[in-house]
């Protein structure tokens, strides 16, 4: 593919040119709280090396609440409304590779050959991913211990690398090549290409955890002692999975008033007591141990068996958000050490 260079001072112009033909979703600052993924109009200042967002990139594909349809009767007239789904190409910029990889995990759940979720798939099929190579991993990051970044990089459309005053833009797909267009793009010098390669190697050289390279799927044991330890500490909130870039579970609920029914989809998590509670009162996962175990087993075993993909990308959000400091890295280390 034809790699390009763009000066940082031209990035805004590039984004504005993308906005002309696409919906562009980018990390947008928010007053009083963490930045959010939002459609931009091309006039805002966007930091493409924004670092990790509190909410993963799935915030666009699976909004925290997503109206599926709304049915209303007014003066005898019936009205059925469906939500607006994108009708033009969409480009997501500024996401990290871990979040991009997580979208591959979500793809396997929501648009695997057997099933196609129309809400997810309509957004996803129009979506191009412009990811940025991390140059400042957080304290909680462990991507290189659960995956092969070279493989992950194949799942994006353009990969950006920060070179100081310039950004190196490497199209990965044909779709990506179409995005890296415009007079502000130059051909990279040999030195710039070298620097880009160094940044990539530096990221891959991030210190590895004891479970790196081990077959975690085979080591995730139903009877491991770590489940008891986790269950004692876990408080049963949903911070870990609501922020997880690859957690895919949802709930569907209706709001009904006298004349209106709105059906919406929202987040749900196996960590909540009522997640598996059935209408007649039976709960197959009544104990906390079963619920904390489920989250890890699902990511590292069931998803592997079902879709041949690990459902964790090492983004570290669950580690940072856990109010009692349950650290996925410690859990995985305990699992492989027990197996050894």
């Amino acid at each position: 593919m034809s790699d390009k260079i763009i000066a940082k001072t031209d990035l805004r112009q590039w984004l504005a040119s993308l906005v002309a033909g696409n919906d562009v979703i980018a990390p947008l600052g928010r007053e009083g709280g963490p930045a959010q993924w939002k459609a931009i109009d091309g006039n805002q200042e966007i930091d493409l090396g924004a670092g990790q967002m509190v909410m993963a990139a799935k915030e666009y594909l699976l909004p925290v609440h997503d109206v599926l349809w709304r049915y209303e009767t007014k003066k005898g007239e019936e009205k059925l409304e469906q939500p607006e789904l994108p009708d033009r190409p969409t480009v997501m910029v500024g996401l990290r590779l871990c979040d991009a990889r997580a979208i591959s995990v979500l793809d396997s759940v929501y648009m695997d050959g057997r099933f196609r979720d129309p809400y997810y798939a309509t957004r996803r099929e129009k979506l191009a991913l412009v990811a940025t190579v991390c140059d400042d991993p957080r304290w909680s990051c462990f991507c290189t211990s659960v995956g092969d970044l070279d493989e992950w990089a194949k799942g994006v459309d353009v990969l950006l690398t920060d070179l100081g005053d310039n950004v190196y833009a490497a199209p990965v797909t044909e779709k990506g090549k179409q995005l890296v267009q415009g007079s502000f793009f130059k051909d990279p010098t040999e030195d710039q290409t070298k620097k880009k390669a160094e940044a990539w190697e530096k990221l891959k050289a991030m210190p590895k955890k004891p479970f790196a390279g081990k077959n975690i799927t085979e080591n995730v044991s139903w009877d491991a002692a770590i489940w008891d330890d986790m269950a004692k500490r876990c408080l049963g909130c949903g911070a870990c999975s609501y922020q997880c870039p690859s957690c895919s579970c949802f709930d569907i609920q209706d709001i009904t008033t006298g004349s209106l029914v709105e059906r919406y989809r929202c987040r749900d998590t196996c960590q909540f007591t009522d997640f598996t509670l059935m209408g007649a009162g039976h709960n197959p996962r009544p104990e906390k141990k079963m619920r904390t175990r489920q989250r890890v087993m699902h990511k590292f075993k069931y998803q592997m068996e079902q879709f041949n993909i690990i459902g964790c990308t090492g983004c570290g959000r669950c580690i940072e958000s856990c109010p009692v400091n349950i650290d996925m890295r410690d859990v995985l280390t305990a699992l492989v050490e027990q197996a050894d």
Partner: protein, 314 residues
């Protein structure tokens, strides 16, 4: 500075476990980073070395008591705010007092990720945390930095006036000389405040971390989870989140001890403590009651006198 207290905690925990007075001691243990601790459940005397005391001991461990101490003898390490939660839990009959052995610690104030970041600390470089007179000492590869306590600690700790536990069988540490900063009251007209809170609640993702870390939120079935009567929808939008947070704030009236754990746990940075503090301020003004200070004083909502003020008239 924290070391003597830590040693004392371990000694006391060991005594309790060796004598069989308790089957478990709940305390803070080393976390997965230098600025983190994690709750530990120590069951053997030889494991008391797992207990630590440092500026990252943020968890209000009283949250575990309704589950753990109903039918078992439990030792627990508490900060002053946590001790007030215990008083509240005893008063509300969630925990029998006779099941508890309380190891109290005096507290100069606690830090968390957000407060450290706000004070300009780069989390990935933190190697250790301790207190010194009037400051929090942050160890990093480049050396130690002293941050004034009121700059480094959690919002609730900045304004805290309770530096020694209100209830304990033994207390470790001397009374720290820390001057609290005054509480900022909620300002503006009702319309301005409405607009402000709409902006805050808009961010809520309904993960319920605030509720789950709260020792006072022990309801077997939270009103927010009920679907036989839908008080609030799960949908994460402003009006539904408004109902949840206002409902929670009202349920905590006269019961919130101000530990600040809800605000710390919130991934979306909702200023939940502003809400709780405002409610407590009004409860105090109307009923002259501060929650969790002693077991004998009946809680504001746990008693009724015909001459009680009617909040609707205030």
């Amino acid at each position: 500075m924290a070391n003597e207290v830590e040693t004392k905690i371990r000694e006391e925990a060991k005594k309790l476990l060796e004598s069989g007075e308790v089957t478990v001691v709940i305390g803070w243990g080393t976390g997965s980073a230098a600025f983190k601790t994690t709750p530990v459940f120590v069951e053997k005397p030889e494991d008391v070395e797992k207990l630590v005391w440092n500026p990252a001991c943020t968890n209000n461990l009283a949250v575990y008591l309704p589950q753990v101490a109903q039918h078992a003898k439990v030792g627990i390490v508490v900060k002053p705010c946590d001790s007030r939660s215990i008083v509240t839990l005893i008063q509300e009959k969630q925990v029998p007092k006779e099941n508890l052995k309380i190891i109290g610690v005096t507290c100069p104030g606690i830090v968390d990720d957000a407060s450290l970041k706000k004070a300009g600390v780069k989390l990935s470089e933190v190697q250790g945390l301790d207190w010194d007179t009037d400051c929090v000492v942050v160890g990093a590869p480049s050396g130690k930095t002293k941050l004034p306590i009121t700059d480094a600690v959690k919002e609730g700790c900045r304004t805290c006036t309770q530096r020694t536990p209100v209830i304990s069988d033994v207390t470790a540490g001397s009374v720290p000389a820390v001057n609290p900063v005054p509480i900022e009251l909620m300002e503006g007209t009702p319309e301005e405040r409405r607009a402000y809170w709409a902006k805050q609640f808009e961010r809520c993702i309904r993960c319920y971390a605030c509720r789950q870390v709260c020792p006072s939120c022990y309801c077997a079935k939270c009103f927010a989870d009920r679907n036989d009567v839908r008080w609030t929808n799960k949908k994460a939008d402003t009006s539904e989140a408004w109902m949840f947070h206002m409902g929670r704030a009202m349920h905590l009236a006269g019961r919130c001890v101000g530990c600040g754990e809800c605000e710390r746990a919130c991934p979306m940075e909702l200023p939940i403590m502003q809400l709780n503090r405002e409610v407590q301020r009004r409860v105090e003004a109307l009923f002259d009651f501060v929650p969790g200070m002693d077991i004998e004083t009946a809680p504001a909502l746990g008693q009724f006198e015909p001459e009680d003020p009617d909040p609707n008239e205030h």
